[in-house]
Subunit: 530 residues, 2 copies
């Protein structure tokens, strides 16, 4: 890989208190957290070789590649034939579920395995409501800001904190090269929105886009190894009038580009009219469709409106077509939605799109907090994931304000890991509560280091504790600076428990003594029956 | 006020882009946001005179005091008699609802107006499910950290960003003096947990607590002007065994203190046995009960368990007693609760506690993110408020790790303003969506300054935008650094709208021309009927 002005430098080494282990025949990576009790807990691990102390990282060469079967069709086609692929076996071990469940959900189209044959660097993962809720992190430079090196660093950084997939949304310069660096070094599936690169080829004029130019861009990206592609094929000419009286019009880049094209040419979208050709291309590589919500609401006022739902119905039609071509499909969702309108989004998506995995951006539960939209949207994300969304696209604090930097990427990922995990708990995912319980036990037993290390972000948890009690003994002390030693409820609670148990014990002894006296102080010999 | 080692310095002056206005006969304060269009939007304002450019702030003297009627009982008693008090009239103007609604909700016990006769510095506000969801910010020093000056600063800072009430949870040194400084300078109601101060008087030994010592502490605080008091009177001797097998035992400070006392003395809690005397004291000042959830779950594992609900039933009994004495009551709620168990908490609280306002701490929807518990809990808070919680007690990023500093206080308040506002939207509060719509319109029209100024935190929104596009022209530019000029969906969306409207116009003209031709090119003269 060339053309990079500054060589990327990425963060490596294990997350504090943990080490990389590989489990099962598929050698599935886990983050093993070592507890001070001598126990350990193995956690789902998206970070790839970067957190493996023994791995040699060579960004120029890219990550190691797993063997890929390329001549038997897509994961969907193979699942329909009853096959448990190597990817499915890997995923079953990773999720802690039977391989048959993985296969059946993929065959049903209720889950997807985004795994382009040309991206063997990625570790297989699954997106579907029967599995752990996933998180996507958007990265990518714009014409105004950032560089290739920064974006590669952000990719590694995002997966370190738990991003399950990455979308490279680069616009501006160096789109192809940026993507090459990201794909060759990404341990997770990579998604793109090919219309962005196509638009660069027309120098930013949407009216000059053509099917042929778009198709060639898609093929270029399929060849390169992109695992899933956002295609805004549901934005139709007849939907445009429905957006005119909106408060925020069309807020999807791809949606606005296609609307501009349709209107300029007075023709139906070439993404829609050529959709079957697109299916044939994606099927060849096993690239997954992420059918874009080009008309998603960009404000509370526009949520669940006619434009949004008209497009969703069209996405349902396209889902049927894609599946008939053996292509895996997920459906993108909003956006900005007040809490009482969230569940309706999942209900209609499942009904109209045959339960294809839902992949939502937030949604933001209010518009009034720019600079905190990782929080406004984590609220909506947790709720929509509880209702059935399979993957959440993160929103960073910079949303609406600027291109996210490294800190924003981490803040966005952590906020979304929280939302996803909260949903896993609410849905009763078999492994989810183990981590909460382990952390809470550590908290109650004042094992501060274990509490930090079991958390989503041990570095920040430790740093916050250090702010007021930096000395090493504080890490085993039975209080913190919040309440001080006298007012620690948990310390008192231990004393209450001990007192109670002593009292019960003493009462028990007293009862036994009385019983013994009542029986004439004779030792009771049980009658043994044969 | 004396005894302060370092004189407090607080933040004053209006929030960016706004000024203080006073509305109606009650001169109710609002934050008026001035838009670049010449319009304005008035927002609920908790910040008191500190954001009034014309106010003279003298922390030594305290805030100005409103006239208070002290000889006609509590707001509850007066509401029952059909009276619309000055406080109710003020609140009606503040909330934009009829004064009769305020009175009726208070009379029904479904809302409370925490307004100790001795705290005339506070601006009246209401806590009840029929009104805007409120946010409380906990402040207060501990034996390990902080000072009076810091806590006064945090109080002003928290109300600047929207805290509707403050709880002074000080332990350690100077409890009385700290509270005096806070009360005399707080524009919002102040709550406390009197057992903390009582415990200081026994030098931290819970077994040495007595009813008399506690009673005298309560009277001291009533006299000083505390508006509501957390009383953990629902922690009974028989509940303690229910906590022994919990993952995190008893995590409420007050709860653990009372459990320790009950067990040490083998007696029922003096808070429970002397509850009616307590009611008589609180009624005299119109101090509101906040019946504490001493047995709230401190982990996902312990949520909605027997201990928690046994206490809630007891709080229901106590609610009836308090109301029969004319004392206003709200009920505190958890804690740590997974999303699927949240609504049950509201349902049972309303059923067992006669719909007394619910006041919940979060709840945290997962345990795994110390350092981000403002987010884990904002998720739970938004959901529980949507279900009917009237006031949310904030959680800061430092929860479980240390005493919050100034930045943590702001982060906690903003996260909770988001949760509260999201719930107001979901509940259809009449004024809530006006702000979202105004901000979204500003966003769509690239009025960046208006977008910042309408947000919960204009300073941070502006700073984030400045990070990548600091130049003044960028504040009116039709793009930002996230997408750059070519890829701004909203810019394209405007073009789409214009193109569409031109086409409709042209089509309309063409239709008209055809029609004209069809009618023989005659000008149509309407028939005027007399």
């Amino acid at each position: 890989m060339s053309d990079v002005r500054v060589a990327p430098v990425v963060t490596t080494g294990p997350i504090a208190g943990s080490s990389k282990v590989y489990a099962g025949d598929s050698r599935v990576p886990f983050r093993r957290v070592h507890l001070t009790t001598g126990e350990h807990l193995d956690l789902y691990d998206t970070s790839g070789p970067y957190t493996d102390d023994t791995a040699v990282i060579d960004l120029e060469a890219g990550l190691p590649r797993r063997p890929v079967v390329t001549d038997r069709g897509t994961q969907l086609q193979r699942a329909r034939r009853g096959e448990i692929t190597a990817e499915m076996a890997f995923i079953a071990e990773r999720e802690g579920v039977p391989a048959e469940l993985v296969r059946d959900e993929v065959a049903r189209g209720r889950a997807v395995i985004p795994a382009n044959h040309r991206h063997p660097e990625a570790e297989p993962m699954i997106i579907g409501k029967a599995f752990a809720v996933k998180v996507n992190a958007n990265i990518g430079n714009s014409a105004v800001s950032s560089s290739i090196a920064e974006e590669v660093d952000k990719m590694v950084w995002a997966t370190r904190w738990g991003a399950d997939t990455i979308m490279d949304l680069s616009t501006g310069r160096d789109i192809h090269t940026t993507r090459e660096w990201i794909l060759r070094n990404s341990p997770v599936p990579v998604g793109t929105v090919p219309i962005y690169q196509a638009l660069e080829k027309t120098d930013g004029d949407p009216t000059k886009l053509t099917w042929e130019l778009y198709r060639d861009t898609v093929i270029e990206q399929c060849e390169q190894g992109v695992d899933y592609m956002t295609v805004h094929a549901g934005v139709l000419l007849r939907h445009i009038p429905l957006t005119v009286d909106r408060v925020t019009g069309i807020v999807s880049r791809g949606g606005s580009i296609m609307a501009a094209w349709c209107l300029a040419h007075h023709q139906e979208s070439f993404l829609y009219t050529h959709f079957e050709e697109l299916c044939d291309i994606l099927a060849r590589y096993d690239v997954t469709f992420s059918l874009g919500d080009g008309l998603r609401p960009g404000s509370i006022a526009d949520a669940n409106d006619a434009a949004q739902f008209a497009e969703l119905r069209t996405l349902g039609e396209l889902t049927t077509i894609a599946k008939s071509h053996g292509v895996q499909v997920m459906i993108e969702g909003p956006g900005h939605v007040p809490m009482h309108k969230i569940v309706e989004n999942v209900r209609l998506e499942e009904e109209w799109c045959d339960e294809a995995p839902f992949y939502t951006l937030g949604p933001l539960a209010t518009d009034i907090a720019p600079a905190y939209d990782h929080i406004t949207s984590a609220i909506g994300a947790a709720m929509i994931a509880q209702a059935g969304t399979a993957m959440l696209c993160y929103v960073t604090p910079k949303e609406h304000l600027g291109l996210p930097n490294r800190k924003d990427v981490k803040d966005g990922v952590i906020a979304y890991k929280i939302a996803a995990h909260a949903a896993d708990l609410a849905k009763g995912h078999p492994r989810a509560q183990l981590r909460d319980d382990a952390l809470s036990r550590a908290r109650f037993e004042f094992r501060w280091e274990d509490q930090f290390n079991l958390s989503l972000d041990p570095d920040t948890a430790r740093a916050y504790h250090d702010e007021t009690l930096p000395a090493a003994p504080a890490k085993t002390a039975h209080f913190c600076s919040m309440c001080g030693p006298k007012f620690c409820s948990m310390r008192i609670s231990h004393e209450v428990r001990d007192t109670y148990q002593n009292q019960v014990y003493e009462q028990g002894m007293a009862d036994k003594a009385r019983e013994f006296a009542e029986h004439g102080n004779r030792v009771y010999l049980p009658v043994v029956t044969p």
